[in-house]
């Protein structure tokens, strides 16, 4: 049985529609990440699941029960907020106790749950502190703890790491992942950070302008982006995109011409967009006949790799090469695209042309 199901879920504010018919199935124990740029409707979708926003249209079920008209408290969910949403005047312990209050549990049960959670999250020494006396990472752990003590069926995370600095973000991200493995609870997690999505998710839901662009495992969305949006949004540095046209069974774009891999279905004269990840642009030998001339404009050294900003014909592209192979800016080199790794999209619809 699926933990959460969204069927054609729509959100409207007056005449403005911000979420357009989202369909999504989340399985028990799954870690699902809603990913997209700000304003894509991911947080609104999460808040609808939480019950903080009404569902304008469609059907939302949790644990097999339609919850459209159910109060948040009756949905069996717990939520971790971007700004932690801790009660500033309460200690860590009181914050957790308050979350448990509606459950009307025995005091001993409450104490045990809080102690266990604190233990898991390493909060035990901080229990009598107030939020103002905690670091950002500690606050985030308290917020999680407060959600955990309620042992919900579903955890909802709303950009939980966005207020942390980069180093702490990596650490807490790792903790969240570990926690999910340990608890096995279903998680719906909102972020605009593809790294969080890639590292944590069992399934990524990529959204844009209120539409779901693609749902898939991290591998799927990386290797088989269904749209140019997904292709450019996932992966860093972003995939290089070139507009071209199908001529005589080849993709031609101002001085560049490629054979079409068999997995793509194209028609003669079709306008297409070609995508190639920077790592799939290789430096070729100077006598390689099939290679292209590329002028190196800028070189960025990253340690193991280096990024080369290239000008190939009229196109600007980025190549990721082993640091040892990096080239001085201003020089012209020969490069070759890994044709097996080419992505082709319809230029009009932005959709993949893969069969």
């Amino acid at each position: 049985m699926s933990a959460i199901t969204l069927r054609n879920v729509v959100k409207r504010y007056g005449a403005v529609q911000v979420v357009h018919g989202v369909d999504l199935t989340i399985d028990e124990g799954e870690f699902v990440v809603l990913l997209g740029p700000s304003g894509c409707g991911k947080t609104t979708t999460l808040r609808m699941v939480a019950g903080l926003e009404d569902v304008s249209e469609g059907e939302l079920s949790i644990g097999g029960r339609v919850v459209n008209n159910l109060a948040p408290k009756d949905r069996g969910v717990a939520m971790v907020f971007q700004n932690y949403a801790l009660y500033p005047h309460m200690t860590v312990r009181q914050n957790m106790e308050f979350a448990l209050r509606p459950m009307k549990l025995e005091k001993s049960v409450v104490d045990k749950r809080i102690a266990d959670t604190a233990e898991i999250l390493g909060l035990s020494p901080l229990m009598e502190r107030r939020p103002a006396q905690l670091s950002g990472g500690q606050r985030q752990r308290v917020a999680m703890g407060r959600a955990m003590v309620r042992t919900p069926k579903v955890f909802l995370f709303d950009e939980p790491l966005s207020n942390l600095d980069a180093k702490l973000r990596t650490q807490v991200r790792w903790e969240i992942g570990k926690l999910h493995q340990r608890l096995g609870t279903t998680v719906l997690y909102v972020t605009h950070d593809q790294v969080e999505a890639m590292t944590l998710a069992d399934k990524i839901v990529i959204m844009r302008d209120g539409y779901v662009e693609q749902v898939g495992t991290p591998e799927e969305v990386f290797a088989h982006p269904k749209t140019t949006f997904v292709a450019t949004f996932i992966g860093s540095p972003a995939m290089n995109m070139i507009d071209g046209r199908i001529e005589s069974g080849r993709m031609v774009a101002e001085g560049i011409s490629f054979a079409i891999p068999a997995r793509y279905h194209v028609s003669e004269g079709q306008a297409v967009t070609l995508g190639i990840r920077p790592s799939e642009i290789k430096i070729a030998a100077s006598d390689d006949a099939g290679a292209l001339d590329a002028r190196v404009e800028v070189t960025e050294y990253l340690g193991n790799e280096a990024l080369l900003d290239l000008r190939i014909g009229r196109h600007e592209m980025v190549a990721e090469v082993p640091a040892a192979d990096r080239v001085e800016p201003g020089r012209t080199i020969r490069v070759r695209f890994n044709e097996a790794a080419l992505h082709l999209f319809d230029a009009q619809t932005g959709k993949t042309l893969a069969l």
Binding site: A50, L52, P72, K73, F81, Q82, Y87, H89, F98, R150
Partner: protein, 296 residues
């Protein structure tokens, strides 16, 4: 200590000078003069009485005076009624007007009007409402078969009538301060409580109220100081009567100074009440704050 620094300090003093003069003229000098008066037998209406130094006699008289004690008790009674009602009503209305509903901005502005009216006018407005026989309040009561109530002419009602007028005028002040504080509260903990399923009362009493407490304590502190000085409304409505049911400290001081013309006794009473109010209010609010700290 360079030239520039010295010159800056001089300029600083030049700019400060008018402020110091104004402060002296409007606050310090009258205080000192009142202090000087309080040790003197000074009858403004009877210049034939020698205006001599009398030591602590005026203070002794005030402290041993039944009417002074009575006025003090009446003042605190009034303060207790007005402050508690203003607190409850002010917070209640603030909770209502901070709801995101159409037209609440206008409602809030309208609610502030009483606060902006001079207390004398407030007194007159309520005089028309309370007026024996002809007052609107009794008229409205008569429509629902009640009354008439001798609002300002019975010893049972007069203090309450004063309190109602004061509450009408100053609840908006508490409301405004509370509403501002409410709006500065982060909305997220409330969403967390919604998801967790905490009851409205729990959320109000354990989330909202504790966070409002510092603001409420400050608002009540200001109201307490004002309430201790209440004068205009009483002067217009009852002038301390009937009997001595609305005789508060400021009226006692006024009577000593401008009816009996005993400026020395009036000044002494002012200082005594200043000390009493300072000590009591400070103790009260200290204990409140301590209560808050120990909870944390």
């Amino acid at each position: 200590m360079g030239y520039i620094q010295r010159r800056n300090r001089r300029i600083f003093l030049i700019f400060l000078f008018p402020v110091i003069v104004a402060l002296f003229a409007t606050t310090i000098y009258p205080m000192l003069y009142a202090g000087w008066l309080s040790f003197r037998n000074y009858d403004l209406a009877k210049p034939f009485i020698p205006r001599v130094f009398v030591g602590w006699a005026n203070y002794a008289e005030v402290l041993s005076s039944g009417p002074f004690l009575h006025a003090l008790i009446t003042t605190f009674k009034l303060m207790a009624i007005t402050l508690s009602v203003q607190l409850v009503l002010g917070v209640g209305i603030a909770l209502l007007v901070t709801q995101k509903l159409r037209g609440m901005g206008l409602v809030r502005t309208l609610l502030l009007i009483p606060m902006m009216i001079s207390p004398v006018i407030v007194g007159l407005v309520w005089l028309f409402l309370y007026f024996p026989e002809l007052g609107y309040l009794n008229y409205f009561l008569s429509l629902i078969g009640l009354g008439p109530v001798s609002w300002i002419t019975s010893t049972d009602w007069a203090l309450l009538a004063i309190a109602i007028a004061d509450i009408w005028q100053w609840t908006p002040f508490v409301m405004m301060g509370t509403a501002a504080a409410l709006q500065s509260l982060s909305p997220e903990p409330y969403e967390a409580a919604r998801i967790d399923g905490n009851s409205r009362w729990d959320v109000f009493s354990r989330v909202t109220l504790p966070q409002l407490k510092p603001v409420l304590v400050s608002l009540m502190f200001l109201r307490a100081i004002d309430a201790f000085k209440i004068y205009d409304i009483i002067f217009v409505l009852t002038k301390g009567g009937p009997a001595d049911s609305t005789e508060v400290i400021s009226l006692y001081i006024y009577r000593q100074s401008f009816t009996f013309w005993r400026m020395g006794v009036g000044a002494a009473a002012s200082f005594v009440s200043l000390i009493i109010i300072s000590v009591l209010i400070t103790l009260f609010f200290k204990s409140l704050q301590r209560g808050q700290a120990s909870k944390g």
